[in-house]
């Protein structure tokens, strides 16, 4: 078991199995197919992300360095939250990027009852340590416990 401490971007607590992307998450490429065609499990459609391609993202603690790609990224994440196809939480090793931050903020201001904790700045060691399927608990103070 290891504990990591980051900065709370969107508060909340949750426990979920880890899903790890070592490269940047291309939000549009990852979510668009799932949102477009009724995939409630949000299977990742990004052919360029071997860590996530074809894996289910809903209900997972998504561990990643940052998001990349199209500036539709924030609104895609906002739509995923509104349609309940979002990850259980998003845990960033780096400081959060502007697109992921926008999606998370838009969801918290404009949608009711969204609980998708977001923690950033967890450090490179976090991404090196965490593996798919490990159980993750996120505390309201930005503590992330990996078991």
């Amino acid at each position: 078991m290891r504990e990591f401490v980051g900065r709370v971007v969107a508060p909340g607590t949750v426990s979920a199995p880890a899903l790890v992307s070592h490269g940047g998450l291309n939000t549009l490429a990852s979510f668009q197919k799932a949102l477009q065609f009724g995939d409630k499990k949000a299977t990742c459609g990004d052919q360029n992300n071997p860590d996530l391609y074809n894996k289910q993202m809903v209900g997972k603690a998504l561990c990643l360095p940052q998001t990349i790609g199209s500036t539709t990224g924030g609104l895609v994440l906002y739509c995923a939250c509104a349609m309940e196809r979002n990850p259980a939480c998003m845990l960033f090793s780096k400081p959060i990027d502007s697109l992921a931050a926008a999606g998370s903020i838009l969801a918290s201001v404009w949608l009711e009852g969204i609980n998708m904790p977001v923690v950033d700045s967890l450090g490179e060691e976090f991404l090196e340590y965490v593996k798919d399927g490990m159980m993750i608990s996120v505390g309201a103070d930005g503590r992330v416990i990996v078991e």
């Binding site: 971007v9 940047g24 291309n26 549009l28 490429a29 668009q32 197919k33 949102l35 477009q36 065609f37 052919q47 360029n48 360095p65 940052q66 998001t67 990349i68 790609g69 199209s70 500036t71 539709t72 990224g73 924030g74 609104l75 906002y78 739509c79 509104a82 349609m83 959060i96 990027d97 502007s98 697109l99 931050a101 926008a102 999606g103 903020i105 838009l106 918290s108 201001v109 404009w110 949608l111």
Partner: protein, 424 residues
């Protein structure tokens, strides 16, 4: 974050609940990135990324309607990304049915929302809004609230404007409020390069391949690119602006670059030189072997990797007038050399509606038509975003299109050979 009395009052609800939520969104956005204040948006026009009435985006349309109903419309007129549909682009019966009745069933109603929110005009649908024929080119130093990754990186790098890589929806929030939080690429410090990229190729590298390699390496950082002077010169002109448009789009889509500097060419690099490079900047050397390695690592996700291409898209981001002319001549020459009269793969060139209108006034329009190439204002990315198109073997020289879809990337020379001479 410090707010002026006016900004604080809006946040407290002095101008209604909707505008208070807009302000709250911007304040949270700024505080996440350590912004200490808001700064006024100073460009004449905004640019939004969300142009498509995709049915899946119901939550976005609901939010837009909340803004309209709350009287929170944009203080600036804006351009917006390309339309997703054009009857001229080849599609079979089933594709047409899905496009019009399922995927983009909300297109008409969404465009009505855009008009109410402040759309510039009916032709303002392009990702390359800064082209002369479109008329949304901000000046050096102006503060923007734009989205669209390729437009943001161009405005920052080639025009010297200042804009963060804003997300869709966040773009219009800044335009509604009239100010944006000051952080990142809006600050002098945030515009310093943390990578030096040394280009050491024998020949001029393909813009979209070079941009892809740099984007994948530096991700969201700012690169200072050297070694390009022998090909791009030291003064901006139509030719190198088009190169930088395509280069930047690849850096932004294959990575998350919002600003790059080209030594002795882009405005800030010319003005500030090596002082733009931050202490401790990392170094990335790119030679021909490195570009080949990057290209060879692109996954090919076609079911049949040897399939004959059924469609070719050229123009993501949208082609400039000069690029349209150059491609027209290249296709003519290619057909002549191979003894063919028409392109052998259905091919679509995409450009801004304003550029298309101007191009159609030139002699080249008929010459292009004679080659069999279709000219469209469509967004190829949006065309490709469905399972039917996804199963089609589509080829492109756009690294942005490759990244977001199943389209297969080839260099411009390879594409030209395929459409004029044939072969897989």
């Amino acid at each position: 974050m410090y707010l002026t009395d006016e900004q604080q009052a809006i946040l407290n609800g002095s101008k209604g609940e909707t505008l208070a939520k807009v302000m709250k969104t911007l304040v949270m956005y700024g505080e996440t990135f350590g912004a200490e204040k808001m700064v006024p948006v100073t460009s004449e026009y905004n640019h939004l990324v969300t142009s498509f009435g995709l049915k899946m985006m119901g939550p976005v349309f609901d939010l837009m309607q909340q803004l309209i109903d709350g009287g929170a419309v944009s203080q600036q007129k804006f351009s917006v990304d390309p339309r997703p549909l054009d009857k001229k682009v080849p599609a079979n019966f089933l594709q047409n049915f899905i496009f019009n009745n399922i995927m983009y069933a909300k297109q008409e109603s969404y465009e009505q929302q855009l008009q109410k929110l402040g759309l510039m005009n009916d032709d303002a649908f392009t990702c390359a809004c800064y082209l002369d024929q479109v008329g949304n080119a901000p000046k050096k130093g102006e503060i923007l609230s734009w989205a669209e990754s390729s437009a943001v990186v161009y405005a920052n790098s080639v025009l010297g404007a200042r804009c963060n890589r804003n997300s869709g929806i966040m773009d219009i929030m800044g335009s509604i409020a009239g100010f944006v939080p000051c952080f990142g690429l809006l600050t002098d410090e945030g515009r310093k390069a943390t990578w030096i990229v040394k280009v050491d190729c024998k020949n001029k590298p393909e813009a979209q391949l070079l941009g892809s390699a740099i984007g994948m390496k530096v991700m969201e950082d700012v690169p200072f690119v050297t070694g390009m002077e022998k090909w791009l010169g030291t003064e901006l002109n139509d030719e190198n602006r088009a190169y930088l448009k395509d280069f930047g789009a690849a850096t932004a889509s294959n990575g998350a670059v919002g600003l790059y500097h080209i030594e002795n060419l882009t405005p800030e690099a010319k003005e500030l030189g090596a002082s733009l490079v931050a202490p401790g900047a990392k170094v990335y050397v790119i030679d021909d072997a490195e570009l080949e390695r990057v290209k060879n690592n692109y996954p090919v996700v076609w079911k049949d990797k040897d399939a004959k291409p059924k469609l070719c898209f050229i123009g993501c981001p949208h082609l400039s007038m000069q690029q349209l002319i150059d491609w027209t001549v290249a296709v003519e020459d290619g057909l002549k050399a191979s003894g063919n009269k028409k392109v052998l793969i259905p091919t679509v060139f995409t450009t801004a509606p304003g550029v298309k209108k101007e191009f159609e006034k030139t002699e080249y329009a008929k010459r292009l038509e004679a080659t069999g190439v279709i000219l469209s204002y469509i967004c190829p990315l949006m065309y490709m975003n469905n399972p039917l198109a996804g199963k089609m073997p589509v080829i492109t020289c756009s690294n942005k299109l490759r990244t977001y879809t199943t389209a297969r990337f080839y260099t411009e020379a390879e594409i030209l050979a395929k459409i004029t001479k044939g072969g897989n």
